[in-house]
């Protein structure tokens, strides 16, 4: 019997069809991953399965039992648990209280108006076991408001597990976590016994693909591709759907009458570093200008996280989470280091952990911290470059564009800048790098696009490109 079977599930908001006849069959014990661009209807699908939304048509069955007519709370009692994309916990209570409350939800004792909740030994013991499982037992009596974002994600999972679910829905369990935290959560999820069936929505493909056995790709409310990891990755439709963090499509751009970019398409995959290489005048900086909205393309489209932003103003594009470290740094020379950083500050996007603020920038670039009250114009070139990067990070971007960050810097400083770039990439930032120093660029890049005379001359993973014999011909001497 299938653990979770969804057939012909339909839901519209107003006239907008959010899910269009979804069919999904998850076998008992399976680990299923659901991916798809923003707005594909993934969370809506979860809300329909969990009962927060009522479908317009179709059926949902949990181990053969029809759920559509049941209210959400009944579904929890039948063994359906979920976590939320945006963490919703009880912030004034301890971790233990949070988990106990979750367990109480599927117990009869929840109606008892006399017996003190805190003295329910059996609930407490089971809750402590669940906290142990997620490695948080030592924090059981700490108030939730004093825990880190990563710990809260694990509390969410403990709360779901303590209900002994048969099917567990995880909505972006890795969102906003650092690399270490991701690894911990992955280990934790891998350790869940096979009597729990797991369906997971996730954007972090690297982690999620390792975890899942089968993958369903959603697009515009439909499941377009389904299969094993290899099948899905090889499917050309998936690449088409997944524009990635930043995409330029068939761009033609002009400066006055001169035609600078000819039909340029490039795609920066989330969490990766795309190096844009080419000779002087090949159109690299123009691509940057098009991406951030400084130059309006005459033809073609720009998308940030699958959201079309073509023709948007630079400030609106910046608000979608795109930050530029411009060529020549362009810091505010008469302002202090601190002021340079503060003017760019923007709160982190909802659900993002580890917001960048003055303190964190000072930690990442200790010399900026030391000189925070110094006028920026008196900084050395390397420090100014750090400041330009720090300033971009203060806007808490999801996509970072860097134009010639090594330009005019001493070799030792260049190495430092490159180490910083590598670290940012490891933290999950998607980076588009334009760089004259090809050797350096190839050392940090995942993917490469080669431009020549405003046209894409070659593109592909870094290993493939650097092996090409005609590389030097496109790049000239270096």
């Amino acid at each position: 019997m299938t653990a979770l079977s969804v057939t012909g599930l339909e839901k519209s908001f107003g006239g907008l069809r959010v899910t269009a006849g979804i069919d999904l069959a998850v076998e008992p014990g399976e680990r299923r991953l659901i991916i798809g661009p923003n707005g594909a209807g993934k969370t809506t699908l979860f809300n329909l399965i969990a009962g927060e939304l009522e479908p317009d048509g179709g059926s949902i069955a949990l181990f053969g039992e029809e759920l559509v007519r049941l209210p959400a709370r009944r579904r929890a009692h039948l063994g359906l648990a979920r976590t939320f994309q945006i963490i919703t916990l009880f912030p004034h209570n301890t971790l233990l209280h949070n988990v106990m409350l979750s367990l109480l939800g599927v117990r009869r004792e929840r109606w008892n108006p006399l017996a003190p909740f805190a003295r329910q030994r059996e609930l407490a013991v089971r809750a402590e076991e669940a906290l142990e499982r997620v490695g948080l037992r030592h924090l059981a009596l700490r108030s939730l408001s004093e825990t880190s974002y990563g710990e809260r994600r694990r509390v969410e999972i403990a709360m779901a597990l303590v209900q002994s679910p048969r099917v567990l829905l995880l909505d972006e369990p890795f969102a906003g976590l650092s690399i270490d935290e991701r690894r911990d959560v992955l280990k934790l999820l891998t350790g869940i016994p096979r009597d729990v069936t797991i369906v997971m929505i996730e954007h972090d493909m690297d982690v999620a693909l390792d975890f899942a056995e089968r993958i369903s790709v959603m697009h515009f409310g439909e499941i377009v591709v389904e299969g094993t990891r290899a099948e899905v990755v090889a499917d050309p439709r998936v690449a088409e759907i997944y524009l990635g963090a930043l995409a330029l499509a068939e761009i033609d751009a002009f400066y006055g009458d001169s035609h600078v970019l000819h039909n340029v398409s490039l795609r920066l995959v989330e969490g990766r570093l795309l190096a844009l290489l080419g000779r002087n005048g090949a159109g690299k900086s123009t691509c940057m200008n098009v991406a951030v909205g400084l130059l309006r393309p005459r033809r073609g489209a720009v998308a940030v996280f699958d959201r079309p932003v073509t023709g948007w103003s630079p400030e609106d594009i910046a608000a979608t989470g795109v930050a530029l470290v411009p060529q020549g740094r362009r810091i505010f020379k008469s302002l202090t280091v601190r002021e340079n950083l503060v003017v760019a500050a923007r709160p982190p996007a909802a659900g993002a952990a580890h917001g960048w603020d003055l303190e964190r920038v000072a930690q990442a670039f200790p010399r900026l911290g030391e000189r925070r009250n110094q006028v920026a114009g008196y900084l050395s070139g390397g420090e100014q470059q750090m400041l330009a990067i720090g300033r971009a990070l203060m806007s808490n971007p999801r996509v970072l564009l860097m134009d010639e960050p090594s330009e005019g810097l001493a070799p030792q400083i260049v190495a430092e800048v490159m180490a910083t770039i590598r670290r940012l990439k490891e933290e999950g930032l998607s980076i588009l790098l334009v760089e004259q120093n090809v050797k350096l660029a190839l050392a940090v890049a995942d993917d490469v696009v080669l431009l020549n005379n405003g046209r894409v001359a070659a593109e592909g993973p870094v290993a493939e490109i650097s092996a090409r014999a005609d590389l030097h011909q496109h790049l000239g001497v270096y």
């Binding site: 927060e52 939320f84 916990l89 009880f90 912030p91 109480l104 599927v106 008892n112 108006p113 017996a115």
Partner: protein, 325 residues
């Protein structure tokens, strides 16, 4: 914990001996008023503080009990029938009240409760054959449990005190119980609670019933204290006043509504003897509370006290070597 037990013992002892050291009948009556208003505020706090649903119609529930009791007595029934009868009527009325109001939360809930409160007031005012309209209903006797007459101020005070202590104990047990904790959960994260398997609506409904029961008890105390009930005592301003007690004292706390009731009743009775515009003073106090202790003055005072203790605590001398020859 033991400090808390000592504090509670002292408070109970002070309350129990209050008629002895307060002497004056007038002040004993003020104390009775505080306690019966505190029972009402405790009941309202169940909804406002613990369920996170603001009601502006609770005076209607208090009035339901008072009128039901008064009418039953007027019809010649004894206290032994009138008291449980009035509470039963209040519970049924509260069930209807909750069934209507719980169709919404937030501002919608406020508006529905306001409307129901106004309907109840309108009935009291206009249904002359039943309620005697604006003239109200007089109740000539107080009950006499175990043959003890409650006509004297101290005697009535003790009955009110006993009822009040029972109400405090009930709320204390309720908020710490599994059900009470679930109610707090529905206040903080209703969506989450549904996903966890809780019936948020039914939890809120039961909480309303508990709140209505306490309001009904307060309504009977009110009736017997005044030996009279009229539409005036259940109008909108009475609901608003109860809400002010809860919010000024500290909603969602056990002591807050009690302290808030004391504040309002003392201002009303005592300050009004000295200042004609006592409402103005009360308003100024509320504004000050909202500005300086938005969480209410019980939790606010605790916060201030902690801060003062911390500020007064002697710190280790910053530079020990300084001053040495």
């Amino acid at each position: 914990m033991s400090a808390r037990i000592i504090a509670v013992s002292i408070a109970v002892a002070a309350l129990a001996t209050l008629p002895l050291w307060l002497g004056d009948t007038y002040f004993v009556n003020v104390a009775s008023q505080i306690l019966l208003n505190a029972v009402f505020a405790l009941g309202l706090n169940v909804i406002v503080g613990y369920a996170g649903l603001v009601s502006l119609g609770h005076a209607g529930l208090l009035g339901l009990a008072a009128y039901a009791g008064a009418i039953l007595l007027q019809e010649g029934w004894g206290h032994a029938i009138a008291i449980p009868g009035a509470l039963a009527v209040t519970l049924v009325g509260t069930a209807l009240f909750a069934a209507l109001a719980l169709r919404a939360t937030g501002i919608g809930f406020v508006m529905i409760t306001l409307a129901i409160g106004q309907i109840l007031w309108g009935l009291a005012y206009r249904w002359l054959s039943l309620t005697n309209g604006d003239n109200g209903i007089n109740v000539s006797t107080r009950p006499a449990p175990f043959g003890i007459s409650l006509d004297g101020a101290p005697q009535f005070y003790y009955v009110t005190l006993a009822t009040f202590l029972l109400a405090v104990l009930a709320v204390f047990i309720f908020t710490r119980s599994s059900f009470g904790v679930s109610l707090l959960g529905t206040r903080d994260q209703p969506r989450r609670m549904t996903a966890l398997g809780y019936d948020v609506w039914l939890i809120r409904f039961y909480a309303c019933l508990f709140s209505g029961l306490l309001s009904g008890v307060a309504g009977l105390l009110f009736l017997y204290y005044n030996e009279f009930v009229s539409p005036q005592s259940i109008q909108l301003s009475a609901s608003a006043e109860a809400l002010l007690m809860v919010i000024s004292g500290g909603s969602g706390t056990l002591l807050g509504p009690i302290a808030g009731a004391a504040l309002v009743v003392i201002m009303k009775n005592v300050a009004s003897a000295y200042i004609e515009r006592w409402n103005f003073v009360l308003g100024a106090i509320f504004v000050a509370i909202v500005i300086f202790m938005p969480e209410g003055f019980v939790p606010g005072s605790v916060r201030l006290a902690r801060w003062v203790v911390k500020a007064l605590r002697p710190r280790p001398a910053p530079v020990a070597a300084k001053g040495e020859p």
